[in-house]
């Protein structure tokens, strides 16, 4: 009888131990998961190096070793310290501080041992670190009607990634405005425009793609493109009704 009771006590203690360990470790795991989820929100000002996988894939691949930082010849890249917003130990740069110089041989990608920086990126002009956006619609000197043009001049892909589009200056009525216009099919997000913007706070900023661009509904079709692809109107026998103009003669 005493034997059975001792067994019982031992079993109870064993189960209690297991339960306590499981709960403690489970709680630790939940905290870790929570922290990891919190930590993976990349601030809009922090840009990943060229070739970086999308943020979710990147955090599963980056070993946080800093080899990319070491091989960056311009000290652009840095590792996030504990307490900084990007996931701890991961590489990033802030364009306004030091932009990416777009090295031809992309040493950061070559240095990455894990593939968090995708070795498939061989032409730096294919890099998409972010997208420049002219956010200062009321502060950009060019939009105010002056000829600053600095962002346009420093762009490594001048006349491709940034062009100046001429508009009528409604304020003076006689002048032109030269609007710096970013083209997403060429902009690498290097950040040289943001770095060199002469304003106190840059009027042009490189933002992560998801923030910088809208996205059409996947079912949207652009009529003019469809028409060009087909060679003729998709609705050939459209009845052309007479246009009713507001000032039509009575």
């Amino acid at each position: 009888m005493a034997q059975v009771e001792r067994h019982d006590a031992a079993r109870r203690r064993f189960l209690a131990d297991i339960g306590r360990a499981a709960c403690g470790v489970g709680a630790a795991g939940l905290l870790l998961a929570l922290y990891a989820e919190q930590n993976d929100a990349l601030p809009a000002q922090s840009l990943r190096p060229p070739g970086a996988l999308d943020e979710e894939g990147f955090l599963g691949a980056c070993l946080r070793c800093g080899l990319c930082v070491r091989d960056c010849p311009y000290d652009t890249l840095r590792l996030a310290e504990l307490g900084e917003a990007p996931a701890t130990g991961t590489p990033y740069f802030v364009a306004r501080d030091v932009p990416c110089e777009m090295c031809d041989d992309i040493p950061c990608v070559a240095a990455c041992p894990s593939g968090a920086l995708d070795p498939a990126l061989t032409d730096i002009e294919d890099a998409r670190m972010g997208l420049a956006v002219l956010v200062g619609q009321e502060t950009c000197l060019n939009l105010l009607g002056l000829r600053c043009d600095v962002c346009y001049r420093v762009c490594p892909l001048i006349d491709e990634a940034i062009t100046l589009v001429r508009q009528h200056n409604e304020r003076t009525g006689v002048h032109a405005r030269f609007i710096p216009t970013v083209h997403s099919d060429h902009c690498t997000g290097c950040g040289k425009c943001e770095k060199s913007c002469v304003l106190e706070e840059a009027a042009i900023k490189v933002l992560p793609f998801a923030i910088a661009t809208g996205e059409l509904g996947s079912h949207y079709r652009l009529g003019w493109e469809e028409k060009a692809a087909r060679g003729e109107s998709l609705v050939p026998d459209l009845i052309d009704l007479p246009d009713r103009m507001p000032e039509a003669p009575q």
Binding site: A33, N39, G60, G66, R70, A116
Partner: protein, 302 residues
């Protein structure tokens, strides 16, 4: 109580063999820890680039890639297949530690070890209570949990909080608030749980313990017949549970410390005034055992 100048563990060995001899492996080990740190630090501090990167992944002399297999395992759990460089680096590290003992990493390389060793030393000097002593297997559960979290969140989550790489990376790239974590570990080991972090919780140590479970390099209680039960080895050992089967084993029981928890720190070799312990390979045991048998019988008879 033992006679002698002091009751501190190792005092007899110091009295009999001299301070230097009784701290031999401790000194070599500290030199090793410093050396590994210096190899990494000499780059950013003096511009001499022998090793780039961190303990998570590095490149030595521009040719030799080394990666922490535990970090790579987390990447795999997060469903990322690393490039060949990282896999090769992990394979080299895996092989090396499988041979010399996984937790050699803990005792001879890890930069947190001096911190927790200092805490343990101070703990002993201040005569503090053991405090919270979770089961040693807790670290294995934590190891599993970190892999599970990596799989669920798709990120190498542990590396965001791993004190080892936080400290190492901090020294190399800018410390941020990482020193707070190191301080927390120190205070935890000193006041909350004796040998709490490395001995009970650290999942990195757990991983390397498993990795080196069958390692070649081991400590042997070769001359256990001479043991005078002074208990100094138990007092200094960060994983005292590993000593018992080797030291207290009778007859044909192997004198080799076979547990993967042993970090091959060699402190037991230092503090033993009877020279019971020595480094050995795990296969050496077989021929050594019969030779030790008569001694054991003698002791029993006595």
């Amino acid at each position: 109580m033992r006679p002698g100048p002091s009751n501190r563990p190792g005092a007899v060995a110091v009295a009999e063999r001299g301070w230097l001899s009784a701290h031999k492996w401790l000194l070599i080990r500290r030199a090793s820890q410093l050396c590994f740190l210096a190899l990494f630090l000499i780059g950013p501090w003096a511009g001499i680039w022998l090793v780039e990167g961190t303990l998570a992944s590095s490149l030595t002399l521009g040719v030799l890639p080394l990666s922490d297999p535990y970090v790579i395992l987390q990447a795999l759990a997060a469903r990322h297949w690393p490039e060949t460089t990282a896999l090769l680096g992990a394979a080299i590290v895996l092989l090396a530690y499988a041979l010399i003992g996984g937790r050699v990493y803990c005792a001879w390389v890890c930069p947190i070890n001096p911190v927790t060793d200092l805490a343990a030393w101070l703990h002993q000097r201040l005569g503090l209570p053991k405090g919270w002593q979770p089961k040693r297997s807790t670290r294995l559960w934590l190891l599993g949990t970190t892999l599970l979290v990596a799989a669920v969140t798709g990120t190498i989550a542990w590396e965001a909080v791993n004190p080892i790489t936080l400290l190492h990376r901090g020294l190399l790239y800018g410390v941020g608030l990482a020193w707070l974590v190191v301080l927390a570990i120190f205070l935890f080991d000193l006041f909350v749980a004796r040998r709490g972090w490395c001995g009970h919780l650290c999942p990195v140590g757990a991983f390397y313990g498993l990795l080196g479970a069958k390692s070649l390099l081991r400590v042997s209680a070769r001359r256990r017949a001479d043991c005078d039960d002074c208990m100094d080895c138990f007092a200094v050992c960060p994983e005292p549970q590993v000593i018992t089967p080797a030291l207290r084993g009778k007859g044909e029981a192997s004198p080799i410390v076979l547990s993967g928890d042993c970090s091959n720190c060699g402190r037991c070799i230092d503090v033993c005034s009877k020279n019971v312990f020595a480094f050995a390979n795990r296969f050496e045991a077989a021929p050594a055992v019969p030779a030790a048998l008569p001694d054991d019988d003698d002791r029993k008879a006595a």
